[in-house]
């Protein structure tokens, strides 16, 4: 009996962890804790929006049919929580885009992490800020120093573009047992065994790949 109830609770836990709300919560937590913008969870956001609309329609129907107001308020609270998660997820991403707008548009890899609407937002923000810099500062400087992205014409790289600090320490939890390389390729072959459920406090760039592949979650 005990073993079947344990199996039942394990099944329930694995089932609930794959529900869209749990996936949205995971995406929101990772996005909040990561120093850089993560790949956009487009399918998840669309499913969440669809479910929110469905629940809203159900609540309206319950109210019209005179269902117990307590039951309706419980559904409403659950809906509010999901809406908050979705809005907060999008808001965190927008704030990161605003903070690193030139960096987000610099390379195809960085731009591929944004949704189409976020790309439009980033381009418009970058154009507005570049225009603001030009009108406030750059036009008043000598000709060879008027670039928004470089200190002067002779700079070899875009040295005026702020980038996210991937060396930031983050707290994370492993979701499975795997081997993690502690250094980048070519530096050292030192590895660490990551066990399911263990907490780690580690530099983000070391666990970046594991987070994007779903092996670890940020907390």
């Amino acid at each position: 009996m005990a073993s079947s109830s344990d199996m039942g609770s394990a099944d329930f836990e694995s089932l609930s962890s794959t529900s869209d709300v749990e996936l949205l919560k995971r995406a929101w937590r990772n996005e909040k804790a990561a120093p850089e913008i993560l790949p956009y969870e487009g399918d998840l956001v669309e499913r969440a929006k669809g479910q929110i609309e469905l629940v809203e329609e159900n609540i309206e129907a319950y109210v019209e049919n005179g269902i117990d107001p307590l039951v309706v308020s419980l559904y409403q609270m659950d809906l509010d929580r999901t809406q908050f998660l979705l809005r907060s997820y999008l808001r965190v991403r927008l704030l990161k885009i605003e903070k690193f707008m030139f960096h987000s548009l610099k390379s195809e890899e960085a731009e591929s992490r944004l949704s189409e609407q976020e790309k439009v937002f980033a381009r418009r923000c970058a154009d507005d800020l570049a225009k603001h810099f030009e009108e406030s500062v750059l036009r008043k400087l000598p000709e060879n120093y008027q670039s928004v992205l470089k200190q002067s014409l002779i700079s070899e790289v875009d040295d005026m573009v702020p980038e996210p600090h991937l060396d930031t320490f983050v707290a994370c939890r492993s979701k499975s047992h795997f081997t993690l390389n502690l250094y980048e390729e070519g530096e050292s072959t030192q590895t660490e065994e990551m066990y399911r459920g263990d907490l780690y406090f580690i530099r983000y760039k070391i666990v970046k790949g594991a987070i994007e592949s779903g092996k670890m979650d940020l907390i």
Partner: protein, 197 residues
């Protein structure tokens, strides 16, 4: 000279309360721009006084794009010894160049940090910018007031127009609430706090 005015700009910004905006220090800003012009003028003066060999080396290192000449190849062709040709003019021009880019970084940081605060205000206040008290509006330049409005308009592009903006706040519900003076209502905190003055 040598970045003295420029470094005062971040100090002036940091001297205010965190997250709060001080009035734009246009006097210090203009003095920093003037310092940049002086640096640039002296760089050009020193360049003209360098000998050809030094000029070629220095322009290769710093100003090759200005002269539009591939000076590396020219130096190799003429067999010039680069490292022995540096002199006071060379280092003087380099110092002025470094001062100029230092001032540029200070100016950009000052404008960028102010724009960050203004943008943060835009997220909180939205399109009610023009309803801000005059004491706050006086601290903003005309350009900054435009920065306030445009990002919020960009945000509406992300989430569609007013309908989706309403969806973000209220969902797709068509419920409306009418308030009369002195009436009492039982509302959720998240709905009521928008109307609290």
């Amino acid at each position: 000279m040598y970045g003295r005015k420029g470094y005062q700009l971040p100090k002036d910004f940091a001297s205010g309360e965190k997250g709060h905006l001080k009035p734009f220090n246009s006097k210090l800003f203009d003095e920093t721009i003037e310092e940049c012009d002086q640096n640039h003028h002296l760089i050009q003066f020193l360049i003209r006084h360098l000998s050809l060999s030094i000029c070629i080396y220095f322009t290769n290192k710093v100003f090759c794009l200005i002269e539009g000449v591939d000076v590396t190849r020219k130096m190799e062709q003429e067999g010039l010894d680069v490292h022995n040709n540096r002199n006071a003019d060379h280092y003087g021009a380099l110092v002025h160049h470094l001062s100029l880019i230092h001032n540029k970084r200070c100016l950009m940081a000052y404008v960028h940090n102010r724009a960050d605060i203004v943008r943060d205000l835009a997220w909180r206040v939205g399109l009610e910018l023009l309803d801000l008290p005059p004491e706050i509006q006086d601290k903003l330049t005309t350009l900054e007031k435009r920065v306030l409005q445009e990002p919020f308009c960009s945000y509406q592009i992300v989430h569609g127009k007013s309908r989706n903006r309403v969806e973000c706040r209220y969902g797709a519900s068509k419920r409306t609430t009418n308030f009369t003076r002195h009436s009492m209502h039982f509302l959720k905190r998240t709905d009521a706090e928008l109307y609290i003055a």
